[in-house]
């Protein structure tokens, strides 16, 4: 079974500082990995995804993530955080995307990001 761990429940950074949100996954083969952001009371917005190829993935809003198979990690980074980045961030994994499969997304428990002025 697949699983995702986000070890940091809450992170606080100052505006303009760099950010790294950690994500570790457990899956027997190459996973498909996602990062989502959720603003209060809203649905989930896709930041970026990794399926294959280049292990450094660029996303929206200046975010990037790096897939490291040896560490089973998919950490999210941003070089300079903006106040509007304050939200909750979820890492997710799905084991297979073939036609007819359930394609179930498994989420981590989320990391709440607070940005100080």
């Amino acid at each position: 079974a697949q699983s995702v761990t986000q070890p940091d429940i809450h992170i606080t950074v100052s505006e303009g500082a760099s950010l790294e949100l950690r994500c570790n996954y457990s899956y027997g083969a190459t996973p498909y990995l996602f990062w989502y952001v959720q603003s209060p009371g809203q649905g989930l917005q896709l930041l970026l995804k990794y399926f294959s190829g280049d292990t450094l993935v660029q996303g929206i809003k200046g975010f990037e993530a790096e897939f490291k198979r040896s560490q089973s990690s998919f950490n999210l980074r941003k070089p300079s955080v903006h106040w509007s980045d304050a939200a909750e961030y979820f890492c997710a994994v799905v084991g297979g995307l073939s036609s007819g499969s359930a394609r179930q997304l498994t989420f981590g428990s989320g990391t709440q990001l607070t940005v100080l002025p």
Partner: protein, 110 residues
């Protein structure tokens, strides 16, 4: 592109009352559909998923049920709500290379 419509956005229901949350999808056909629940201070828990009309798989035993009467319609129901059913319910679809989420329903059971 795919769009998911979820309603209502907010709902307050008494314990023991029935529930019906509806989700419809536009811009795709034969999607995989999912219901997730997000309880306060917790992550997203998969409740049900469907790979086709009338096909429902349950992930968590509970007093909720789901139905898929049409290809792009997914309904979450309960005959009698419990306090523990309170949470934020999200519908999602997969029909390409990513997942699209609805804007959610905030359910408070009182």
């Amino acid at each position: 592109s795919q769009t998911i419509h979820q309603w209502p956005a907010t709902l307050v229901q008494p314990v023991g009352s029935p529930l019906s949350l509806e989700c419809t999808v536009e811009g795709t056909s034969n999607p995989n559909l999912y219901w997730y629940r997000q309880a306060a201070g917790r992550g997203l828990q998969l409740l049900f998923y469907s790979v086709g009309i009338g096909q429902i798989s349950s992930e968590v035993p509970q007093n909720l049920s789901a139905s898929r009467p049409q290809d792009r319609q997914f309904i979450l129901s309960s005959k009698k709500l419990l306090l523990s059913d309170s949470g934020f319910y999200l519908c999602a679809e997969f029909s390409g290379s990513s997942y699209t989420f609805g804007s959610g329903t905030r359910l408070t059971v009182v």
